[in-house]
């Protein structure tokens, strides 16, 4: 399944979710379909789920809220390992992604 518009694309392949482009949606309501897509994947019974953010150029604060909410959802699952793959190519990732680890110490944050 895929959700996209002219600026971004998000899709899942097995237990990995890919984010691509510029996410500047207006708030939690606008991000709700993406939240549902990924939250569904978290509850599919995988041992590990990966958020691949290496193509995620820009994310506004409502988008950061989305990632944080999903991290909290993963935290509730107890034994689910959440891998977050990022890149230092996009400055927001080095600045804001470490917050996810503060929310859930078991997040495996990989900033290449």
């Amino acid at each position: 399944m895929e959700i996209s518009d002219e600026n971004f694309r998000v899709w899942a392949e097995k237990n990995e979710v890919y984010f691509d482009g510029v996410f500047r949606l207006a708030g939690p309501d606008a991000y709700a379909p993406i939240y549902s897509l990924i939250s569904g994947l978290l509850h599919e019974g995988h041992k590990q789920v990966t958020f691949n953010l290496t193509g995620l150029e820009f994310l506004n604060s409502s988008g950061i809220n989305l990632l944080a909410k999903l991290t909290i959802e993963a935290r509730k699952m107890g034994d689910l390992l959440l891998v977050v793959k990022g890149t230092s190519q996009y400055p927001w990732q080095a600045k804001s992604l470490p917050n996810l680890k503060k929310l859930h110490p078991l997040v495996d944050l990989r900033l290449a």
Binding site: R24, A26, F58, N60, I72, W92
Partner: protein, 186 residues
Amino acid sequence: MTPTVYGIESLAGISLDSSTRLTLSDGPLQLGWKHSGMTSDFIAEVMALPYSRSRKDYVQAHHDIGYLSNELIENAVKFRQPGEILIEAGIFDRTFLIRVKNTIDGVTSSRFQQLLHRLQSRDPGELLLEQIETNAISAESGSGLGLLTLLSDYDAKMAWAFEGNNDQRVILTTTAAVAMPPSSNL
């Protein structure tokens, strides 16, 4: 009437006379959400140019200017009362400064001032995590996260001035500053 100021008072009073000035007007083009992204992209494109000699500095300047501008303009578009949004931006002494002025209603003004009051005595990093946890269990739209990321993750310096005590129209002026990389050809 003297405005009520939160944050760094000297920043609220700083003159941005020689800055670039943009006005977003409500009119036939219908000022909407997408204009915040377009405007902040434009500001980032223009203001990051002096850093183009170094790829790394350019990327950092472009991103930080873009993120800061986008958050401030998104808030102005989201919470404004009908009327224009005035934006002033410039680079002074290795600092990018942006000031956004718009009108909000009395209810928004009081709620925002409560949040700013809370901010004064707390570490923004702690407040950010607290706000994220609150947003995760509440169905309401998460407010304040943009400002908290700016203060916590971008080390932005900010000031907010509220003018007027009319319930319908309070003029909010937000000024923010972030450090720019040392190299530029300004």
